[in-house]
Symmetry: C2
Subunit: 325 residues, 2 copies
């Protein structure tokens, strides 16, 4: 990771560490950026006694949690740095005295200027994965965890971020043939469900709302593996496609149970099993948390394959950025 990112992260972490009392961490963003922060909130919930929550920006702005104030830390993200709801959420949180940290690809964007501690990440196919949004987020959250409750595990997390690029490349290579097959086989589907849980839930949510719905105009719904048996599973049928991510760690049994049932009644399952991945370079203690990054890279390749097979470029939009809304 470039020193520029580490310096920005360290400034933010020092501000968090300097707080006498932290009453609440809030992760606030929209759409794909919200999904991107879901594993961070999952980690905080599991690792810290200090409460944390995740919000879509506009609800955060309109509802305003009672506990938000000087003792709070608010972490926001917008790729373009221009998402008005997220800029507003950051401004509001800052005006209420909260410590505000924002991640963005665009330096000097409205979000950048709204937050007290802006952090830049790289973008594009040429960048090393350790400089991209997810690596920068993970570096930030492991450093915050280590500042608030120092332990080896978090230091291992910080170090593991540096090795992520190779792990992603190996996973994409491992799944390359399968992704080609799935892209061709399922290219005419009009509705594809996704399913996941725990640290990986955000990736499956993001794939449903951003890659399938937004970028491919394919109907979708991300079902939490733990919720599947409590209603949603009744839609399962031989011709209903599901993309299922089996994570690793504490919530894997939920994914496994959902997958084991689903495969009995659907003939159209795309399974991404995080146990398949060669995670050399990622410390054992934090692999559960890194699994979604790897699954996410595989899912992204699947989206590329769908786009190619369907002749529907991932950059095509009919409403987004095209009009006022």
């Amino acid at each position: 990771m470039k020193q520029e990112h580490i310096d920005q992260i360290n400034k933010a972490v020092a501000a968090v560490a300097a707080k006498k009392h932290i009453n609440h961490f809030y992760f606030v963003a929209c759409g794909g950026s919200q999904a991107f922060m879901m594993p961070a909130q999952f980690m905080f919930d599991k690792e810290l006694e200090t409460p944390s929550g995740i919000y879509t920006s506009n609800q955060f702005v309109h509802e305003v949690p009672k506990a938000l104030g000087e003792d709070s830390v608010v972490i926001t993200c917008s790729h373009s740095g221009n998402t008005p709801e997220t800029v507003k959420a950051t401004e509001m949180a800052r005006s209420m005295g909260a410590t505000t940290i924002a991640l963005s690809n665009l330096v000097d964007s409205p979000l950048w200027n709204a937050a007290e501690y802006p952090i830049h990440y790289e973008w594009g196919k040429d960048a090393d994965a350790s400089d991209l949004n997810k690596a920068v987020l993970y570096s930030l959250v492991f450093r915050i965890l280590d500042a608030v409750a120092p332990c080896d595990k978090y230091k291992e997390g910080i170090a593991s971020v540096e090795n992520i690029n190779d792990v992603l490349e190996k996973a994409k290579a491992l799944y390359a043939d399968k992704l080609k097959e799935w892209g061709k086989k399922y290219k005419r589907e009009k509705m594809i469900y996704t399913m996941g849980s725990g640290a990986c839930y955000g990736e499956t949510y993001s794939f449903a709302i951003c890659l399938l719905m937004e970028m491919q105009w394919i109907h979708s719904n991300c079902i939490h593996s733990g919720e599947y048996f409590h209603g949603p599973f009744e839609v399962t049928d031989f011709d209903v496609p599901f993309i299922i991510v089996k994570g690793i760690g504490s919530t894997r049994p939920l994914d496994e149970r959902a997958y084991n049932f689903c495969k009995k009644y659907s003939d159209c399952i795309m399974l991404i099993d995080c146990e398949d991945f060669d995670m050399t370079g990622i410390a054992e203690s934090v692999r559960e948390y890194f699994a979604p990054l790897v699954a996410g890279a595989v899912l992204r390749s699947l989206a590329d394959e769908f786009a190619y097979q369907r002749g529907h470029d991932l950059g095509v939009r009919r409403y987004m950025w095209k009009m006022e809304y």
Copy 2:
């Protein structure tokens, strides 16, 4: 509300009030029961500085939030009282010293016996709405709020529960003709989106996963109105149906914005506008919180109409209760 329910609620509230310190409220359940508690968690987030979170039971059991312990209050629900994940979540929380409160229709069920403070609610078309699950939950949460941070608003909430039956009946009558029309018009749809936010989000989530997916085998996805513009709206088209609930109170602008956009590009919108309801008997101060109960009654009537039009009884299942899973 029957004295039996009030006595059980008061016992639970007294236990909460007796706690020296509350570090966290956890709402934990599966599927429709989780959705049912979403407005309660929304209220707590808005009204209290004490943090609160909502979990699907099996993730709660497998992930175990770090803050869960003697200072916590865990509120669970299972209609049958037999949902194994929710029973386990309650047992686990109790064994860790948390105050456990469970709502169920079945006295002496496994959930009933797992919780320290079980609370019974009525069920069925003959019961007065003030004895049903939602009224009992609202009575509980307003009493907890009033015990933790006494104020007139919460007392008005407790009193308003008693008047809910008439409000629901009037709302169903108001929408009766529309529901008949919608049931007929959209009965052949294979995919119907729902959309809502704030206090009403749980009702739209519940309608998607329980009424449409589970009970009608119609594909669905509940989109949060605040997330709609950040990906999902790209699927909007003239023939894509949406059921939209416009709530009242703080997050209404989110619903309004989503509806205003959606109606320009979809010709198939079923709008339930909570401002249409005659809420006489419900105090102004708490109408935002009661709106989902009223919208939920209208949605339930819509499900009845779909069931009738499609010849697909709401009680039909192919997997649930039919096999091991």
